[in-house]
Structure formats: structure tokens, C-alpha cells
């Protein structure tokens, strides 16, 4: 192992310019990947809160009695998509309206009966807050007796889901493309180093070196370049976080809930190492004797 490490270190120093260039290119690539990760992560995080606030309001028909309404509540509760149901009677609805209007509740004076219909506030399970399952649930709800009207943020729900899946898909495609690009950079670097040391490799083969003995320093070198690129990318990302993102978070309301994903700290050098390893392995290919 000492030999492998020494040989790798010697080559890294001997070919310092080409290696430095590769590290910077990998760092740039991984930095772009990590910025995309920050966006995807935050969009995902923001939209993940949607199921907690999402609810369906079903307004009851005028002629439905409290007993009939409670019967409907029981049926809805048994639905596997439902987390809980709250029945709001006409009286309760009026009470809440008064609370909302506060000092302006004189508007309601003179009314002989409660102006708002009784309603059901239905919260769905987190896993069921998906455009398709919500649509199916609403269709079932419409078929029930005593339901007059249903309100839920249909457009908001589908547009948030579209944004979420769109950002996710685009992010993954982009990361795969960038990953392939970084692998290619490591591949090219190791290939160049491999060709530059072709005679040395030939000599090693003639002396009886095994494939592993020949390959290992190159694979270590590719991995080291990738990891160094990842670490350099991470350093720039930290600078971006400290220098720009944190001040945006504290001063611009739009960025108020943006957070720096901490998983990037180990992930970036690890991704660089893996891509460098893969690139080196492909570059060396099959050594023939």
C-alpha cells in the first residue's frame, strides 16, 4: 500500500498542471451540481409541507339535519384516505364568522338565521395528498347525499405537484449529465496520464507486475482528483453560503425559508471520489499481457 500511495503522490506532483486543471474543472462541475441540489432540495422541502395544510371543505345542503350530517361524517371517516373529519354546524360556522369579523360583527345583526351552511372540514392522510388520489376522493364525496358543494385548492395542488416533480426530474437529469461529464473529465485525465506512462507500464508488465499493481496508482489518482474536485467545489459552495445565501435569507423575504442542505458536505467529495474512481477504471480498461 505504501508503494501505491507513494506512486500516486509522485504522479500527482509530477503532472501537477494537468491534475490542477482537472481538479478545477471537476470542482466547477460539482459546484453547479450542488447549486442545482440546493434548488431541488428547497423546492422539495417547501412543497413537502403541503399535505399538512391541505384540507377539503364540503358544504352540506340546507335541508340536512345534524343527525344526517353526523352519519355522513362516519362514512367519510371510514375512507382510507382520510386522516380526520370535523363537522361544523351552521351555529358553529356563525360563531367562527363572528370571531373572524371581531368588531365588525354588527354586519350580522338582523339576520334571522345563520347565513353560512353547515360544512365538513376533511384532512387527508399525507400519502393521499396527490392530485390523482384527491381527485378520486372528491368524486366519491360528490356522490354522497347531503353534499352541496366541495372546495379544495385543485389548481394549487396540481401546480405545486407539477413544479415539484418538474424540478425533481430536471434536477436528476441535469445531475446525471453533469455526473457523466465529470466522469469523462477523470477518464480523459487518467487516459492522458496512462498514455504518457505507456513505456513505464510496458516495463512493469515485463517485470511481472499484475494488473492490480499497474492499475491501482491510476485508480487512486483518479479518485484523488475527483475527491479534491469535490472538496474544492464544497469550499466554493461554503463561500457562496456564507457570502451570499445567508444575507439573502436574512434580508429578502422570498429567500426566508431557504436552507443550505448539510448532506452536501460529505456528499460532494464522496461523489467526486466515486466519479473519479469510475472514470479512472474506464480509462485504464483491460490491460493485456
Amino acid at each position: 500500500m505504501t508503494y501505491y500511495l507513494k506512486a500516486t503522490l509522485q504522479s500527482l506532483v509530477r503532472e501537477k498542471w494537468i491534475n490542477l486543471l482537472s481538479v478545477l474543472t471537476i470542482a466547477m462541475g460539482l459546484l453547479i451540481v450542488s447549486l442545482v441540489s440546493v434548488i431541488v432540495y428547497n423546492v422539495d422541502r417547501a412543497t413537502a409541507k403541503l399535505p399538512d395544510t391541505f384540507s377539503v371543505t364540503a358544504y352540506m345542503k340546507e335541508d340536512v339535519s345534524d343527525a344526517e350530517a353526523q352519519q355522513t361524517v362516519g362514512v367519510i371517516r371510514r375512507n382510507r384516505n382520510v386522516e380526520n373529519v370535523r363537522y361544523i354546524s351552521k351555529a358553529e360556522a356563525l360563531k367562527e364568522l363572528r370571531k373572524t369579523l371581531k368588531d365588525a360583527d354588527y354586519i350580522l345583526e338582523g339576520l334571522n338565521e345563520a347565513p353560512l351552511p353547515a360544512s365538513l372540514e376533511i384532512r387527508l392522510k399525507r400519502s393521499s395528498v396527490q392530485p390523482e388520489s384527491v381527485k378520486a376522493f372528491i368524486a366519491d364525496l360528490r356522490k354522497m347525499n347531503g353534499i352541496e358543494d366541495i372546495q379544495y385548492g385543485e389548481k394549487l395542488l396540481s401546480s405545486i405537484h407539477s413544479i415539484r416533480s418538474g424540478v425533481r426530474t430536471a434536477g436528476i437529469i441535469f445531475m446525471v449529465i453533469m455526473g457523466a461529464g465529470i466522469t469523462f473529465i477523470c477518464y480523459s485525465t487518467v487516459k492522458i496520464l496512462f498514455y504518457r506512462r505507456k513505456e513505464e507500464i510496458e516495463t512493469l508488465k515485463l517485470l511481472g507486475a499484475t494488473r492490480t499493481f499497474i492499475r491501482t496508482p491510476f485508480v487512486l489518482e483518479g479518485s484523488a482528483l475527483g475527491a479534491a474536485g469535490g472538496a474544492a467545489g464544497l469550499a466554493v459552495l461554503f463561500a457562496f453560503d456564507v457570502g451570499l445565501l445567508r444575507s439573502l435569507v436574512s434580508s429578502v423575504p422570498l429567500f426566508g425559508s431557504v436552507v443550505f442542505p448539510t448532506f452536501l458536505v460529505p456528499a460532494l467529495p464522496a461523489a467526486g471520489l466515486f466519479l473519479g474512481f469510475a472514470g479512472a477504471l474506464i480509462a485504464i480498461g483491460r490491460i493485456r499481457f
Binding site: 513505464e200 515485463l206 517485470l207 511481472g208 507486475a209 494488473r211
Partner: protein, 220 residues
């Protein structure tokens, strides 16, 4: 130790070796001689599996050219020390590391590597050049580094291709003295050379190769 059984080798349409049959005993020192392009280097390459015979069979100790693959070739080569005609020294590594390479590929511990390299360099009178790099050495010194690298791993056989090609007669005589010492330890040796002085009065077998065939076997 080495057997060539009706071995032929050609490059494109040119025959490099034609129906070679020969045997070398364990511990023997033999010479290959003949004009340039006669096939001496090809014959050596067939022994260390840098070339594969087109027909016939080469056996070296327990290895057989018909059953060699990429897993067994390195093992065979570790048992053969090679003194290459073009030296094949690594210019970016010093004398110590060039010789140590032959041991490191055998996964020998660094402590033993150090001891064995220094012993071998002492044997070829290059102990004082440990830290020098090949370009800074004379032809004779480079040749001795190559010999040191070839014998450091204690191979059962040593092959030398024109080991005194560009050396003056005194240096060549020094190299030959080293070879005799190595052979005296029981290492089988095959030396390909133009230089008659190397094998004269040795009493060893000399295979005369001409146009890829054995033209005769003499005693030096």
C-alpha cells in the same frame, strides 16, 4: 528448465524463428549468437512470454506456452530476470527505486526491499549510486542497474539481450564477471550477444542462430 519444441514465429510474412528445437538444463549458462535480425531477441521473448509461438511449444520450468494466460504470465515473468537491450530503466526514478520495482511487484515488505536492493547494488558495485537517476549514469552503470533489477527478485533464470552492446571491453568483462557470479549461485542464464569475447573460453554452449533457425551449436 527451458524447452523449445519445433517452435516457429513469424511477423506478417517474415519468419522470425523457424522450427526451433532446443533444451537448456537447470543452472546452465548458454549463449545465443548470430547476426542482427537472426531471431535472438524473438527467442528470448518467447521464453518470457512477450511473444507467443505460432506453432510448436515453449516450456519454462512449470510454465507452458499453450497454457499461459494473463493471470499466469506475471508469475512466469517474476521467475525470469531480464536484462533488456534497451535497458528499460525508468528515468524519473532513482537507481534504488528502479531496482526496488522488481521486488515491489512481488509484494515484498519495504524493509526487505531496502535490504535486498542495497545488497544487490553492492554486488554490481553501484551502492554509491543509489540516489542517482538513470540519465546521470554511464552506459556501463545503467547496464549494471538493469542487471541488479533483473537479479534482485532472485529469479530462477536470467535472460540478457546484448548486455554489452555499447560497452567498452573492460566494462563488458566486468559485466561478464557479474553474470558468472550469478550463474555460480545456480541461476540458469541465456545471453544473446554479438560479442565473441563474452563466450570465448567459457566452455558453455553457444547456439548460432541464422535467419530464424539454429545454424549450429558450439562450445565457447
Amino acid at each position: 528448465m527451458i524447452h523449445f519444441d519445433d517452435v516457429s514465429k513469424h511477423y506478417d510474412t517474415t519468419f522470425a524463428l523457424r522450427n526451433i528445437t532446443l533444451s537448456l538444463e537447470k543452472g546452465e549458462m548458454a549463449f545465443l549468437t548470430g547476426p542482427s535480425g537472426a531471431g535472438k531477441t524473438t527467442l528470448l521473448k518467447l521464453i518470457y512470454a512477450a511473444e507467443h509461438p505460432d506453432s510448436g511449444r515453449v516450456t519454462m520450468a512449470e510454465w507452458d506456452s499453450d497454457h499461459l494466460d494473463s493471470a499466469t504470465i506475471p508469475l512466469l515473468r517474476r521467475n525470469v530476470g531480464i536484462v533488456f537491450q534497451d535497458f528499460r530503466l525508468l528515468d524519473n526514478r532513482n537507481v534504488f527505486d528502479n531496482v526496488a520495482l522488481a521486488l515491489r511487484i512481488r509484494n515484498i515488505s519495504e524493509r526487505d526491499v531496502k535490504e535486498r536492493v542495497l545488497d544487490t547494488l553492492r554486488m554490481v558495485n553501484l551502492r554509491h549510486k543509489t540516489d542517482s537517476f538513470p540519465p546521470a549514469l554511464s552506459g556501463g552503470e545503467q547496464q549494471r542497474v538493469v542487471i541488479a533489477r533483473a537479479i534482485a527478485g532472485d529469479p530462477i533464470m536470467l535472460l540478457a539481450d546484448e548486455p554489452t552492446g555499447n560497452l567498452d571491453s573492460d566494462t563488458a568483462a566486468g559485466i561478464m564477471r557479474i553474470f558468472k557470479e550469478i550463474n555460480a549461485r545456480g541461476t540458469t542464464m541465456v545471453i544473446a550477444t554479438h560479442n565473441r569475447e563474452l563466450y570465448r573460453h567459457t566452455g558453455m554452449r553457444v547456439f548460432r542462430i541464422d535467419a530464424g533457425a539454429i545454424a549450429g551449436i558450439d562450445r565457447g
